[in-house]
């Protein structure tokens, strides 16, 4: 029996490992989403000189759990006169598409080797990976448009139409702004794009694509913020203008699905920025400076110690138990990385990539707390009359320089 | 894992889609539905072209499909603009009601 089981495992290894990776990644992404909402509320609050959530659990860390519970237990009314099929389809589509796009992102260069089988970090490495991501972005317009229309109400319809028109307009600038990166990399695969930047890894920071392609990066980031309907481009879902835009008539779990879809697409865009323009899993230090490999431990150990120190003096008993526990775990991870250089080498790539993704998420939240929003006509004029010509100029300049260099 | 699909299967599938498109074109009464059945027929032809491109290992079949997609996009834009213009004057999208040129 054991023999036939191991034989079955060995034959269908790829499928089983892919299923395990998918389940793990969905779980991780949903948890990151939840704590991204916590992070956003805390950062925006501190930018506005207030505390943010700090009652539910130590430092408000259980706030996402409370929010999730609220979404699950709230009443779920279906308004009268909605087109039932599209009303239920729209949040499903939005969430499914947003979660699918995470499958294409590679999280680390080296595979884990288990029983002689290699497991790469990342569910699939398509050789048209970037094109598939744009395909998913193109399809996410449906979630918004159908949600707005099926709600049988004025505000969602207007919000949905405006939002989908905005998404379609900025899609062009989005896809054209990365053509410069593709010309330099020669391939659509995300791993190849990072590997081309790794050719000059001894230059460290300056090998990244952002320096030759600074125009492309600005175009891409702006268009991506507009695609994900975030501030300053979030007029279609702004509360003071349009009640809540296309998701007005959705409540409890269906609204949570739109919410999760928005934050997941934020994570996807941050990962794409990090991979295409900022070197992905490459360290900003030159590859010859091997002493920088201790940087993860150098960050984790003091942070863990600080969490322990803060937790010991925390006001609630629950905080005084949980926070030192979390701090201990972080310190132990940092110590393990110093003790086992094999794990340390493996963890370098994912550490830098996750750090960059975290940085871009912070920029997203920073913009939310600082910038006012565009008016709708300003938004459309900006997309068509400024970003699109800028992206095209970037393509022309990049191809000219590459052709002249030979 | 090594069961191969004959090319004729793809061609028959395209023929099925094409004939469903023809049936929809003749049966439906809504202008936009008729237009969508035209798109369905174009897609069936695209599948035929890609199947033949695979059979002959030529990539020009795929480029033909690319051009068909571009022309379909242009045609959809103009066609839907015409439909909007018709709706503005006739207030209906039923093809049986826009037969003003008939005696």
């Amino acid at each position: 029996m054991i023999d036939s089981l191991t034989q079955f495992l060995n034959e269908h290894w790829d499928v089983i490992i892919s299923l395990v990776k998918i389940a793990l990644l969905v779980f991780i992404v949903l948890t990151v989403n939840a704590y991204l909402t916590w992070f956003e509320r805390k950062v925006v609050a501190h930018m506005q000189s207030r505390w943010g959530p700090h009652r539910v659990g130590p430092h408000g860390l259980l706030q996402p759990a409370a929010d999730g519970l609220k979404f699950l237990l709230k009443e779920d009314p279906t308004p009268a006169g909605v087109d039932k099929f599209t009303y239920y389809l729209a949040p499903l589509m939005a969430l499914a598409l947003a979660l699918t796009s995470i499958a294409i992102i590679p999280f680390g260069p080296d595979p884990i080797v288990v029983f002689g089988h290699k497991i790469y970090l990342g569910i699939v490495d398509l050789n048209i990976g970037l094109l598939a991501l744009f395909a998913i972005t193109a399809l996410s317009v449906y979630g918004v448009a159908l949600a707005g229309w099926s709600s049988n109400s004025k505000y969602p319809l207007l919000g949905g139409l405006r939002s989908s028109a905005q998404m379609v307009s900025y899609e062009l600038a989005l896809t054209m702004s990365v053509v410069g990166v593709l010309l330099m990399a020669g391939s659509f695969s995300l791993r190849d794009i990072i590997n081309v930047q790794a050719i000059h890894a001894d230059r460290g920071l300056f090998a990244w694509n952002v320096f030759p392609q600074i125009l492309g990066f600005i175009c891409f980031f702006t268009a991506a913020v507009a695609e994900t309907n975030r501030v300053p481009f979030d007029l279609p879902e702004a509360e003071s203008e349009l009640v809540a835009g296309f998701h007005t008539e959705y409540s409890s779990f269906k609204f949570a699905m739109f919410f999760i879809a928005e934050y997941t697409s934020m994570i996807t865009v941050s990962s794409l920025c990090a991979i295409m323009f900022f070197g992905g899993w490459l360290s900003p230090f030159p590859a010859t400076w091997t002493f920088t490999h201790y940087l993860p431990s150098l960050i984790l150990i003091p942070f863990g110690l600080w969490v322990i120190w803060d937790g010991i003096r925390y006001e609630t008993i629950f905080g005084r138990i949980v926070l030192p526990g979390i701090g201990t775990v972080i310190t132990v991870i940092g110590a393990v990385l110093i003790a086992f250089p094999f794990i340390n080498e493996f963890i370098q790539g994912p550490f830098w990539l996750l750090g960059k993704i975290f940085f871009f998420l912070f920029v997203y939240v920073w913009m939310r707390g600082t910038l006012p929003r565009f008016r709708y006509d300003q938004l459309m004029a900006f997309g068509w009359k400024f970003l699109l010509p800028l992206a095209m100029a970037n393509i022309i300049a990049t191809s000219l320089i590459m052709a002249l260099r030979g | 894992m090594s069961a191969q699909v004959p090319i004729a299967a793809y061609l028959i599938l395209a023929a099925v889609l094409f004939s469903i498109g023809v049936a929809a074109f003749l049966i439906k009464r809504n202008l936009i539905s008729i237009f969508m059945s035209i798109e369905l027929m174009l897609n069936a032809v695209n599948l035929t072209l890609v199947a033949f491109a695979h059979m002959w290992h030529q990539v020009s079949g795929q480029i033909f499909v690319f051009f068909v997609m571009v022309v379909a996009a242009a045609e959809a834009a103009v066609g839907l603009a015409i439909i909007i213009a018709i709706f503005r004057t006739r207030e209906t999208l039923n093809v049986d009601s826009v037969d003003l040129m008939k005696s």
């Binding site: 193109a138 | 798109e39 242009a74």
Partner: protein, 168 residues
């Protein structure tokens, strides 16, 4: 595995096309057509045309069908009614479509041995990727049709703007 892909996505395409035929509200037909197009994209991928699969999803389902859905939403004409014309259409429509299907399948089936079989992913393990092959042909030998199609799109944009404009 290619057989499983073909059966699942081919069946899905046929079911969605039948749904397009049978639904009364145009929005449901539009969504069924999106399902047809995405199933066809998977079938293109299995035939080795990966660029076309992505272009099918981006251009056809992601742009053209979005346009259809917008127009249906904006015009909001509702479900279609049964009129006298539709009775005659039933008598002509189904037999006509059946005749075309029989003719085409007869031609394809009688030549099925000459067609041969397909390869999973179809020669995707070449040194040059599918995109390189397509683009090297498109931008060298077929450059003139490529530029002509860009002029065609420009003409279509101008035509659509003029036709859909409100009369002043």
């Amino acid at each position: 595995m290619q057989l499983a892909l073909f059966m699942i996505f081919g069946g899905l395409a046929v079911l969605a096309a039948l749904n397009l035929l049978l639904q009364r509200h145009p929005i449901n037909s539009a969504l069924s057509l999106v399902v047809v197009m995405m199933s066809l994209a998977v079938l293109y991928w299995s035939l080795g045309a990966e660029f076309l699969a992505a272009a099918q999803v981006i251009v056809y389902s992601g742009a053209i069908m979005v346009f259809f859905v917008f127009v249906i939403m904006l015009l909001n004409a509702g479900e279609e009614e049964r009129t006298t014309g539709s009775r005659a259409a039933y008598i002509v429509g189904f037999p006509g479509a059946a005749a075309i299907f029989c003719l085409l399948s007869f031609v394809f089936l009688s030549e099925r041995n000459a067609f041969g079989s397909s390869n999973v992913g179809g020669y995707l393990n070449h040194v040059t990727s599918n995109i390189s092959e397509v683009s090297s042909l498109l931008f060298t030998k077929l450059l003139l049709p490529f530029e002509v199609t860009s002029v065609l799109i420009l003409v279509a944009i101008l035509g659509a703007v003029v036709l859909a404009r409100k009369e002043q």
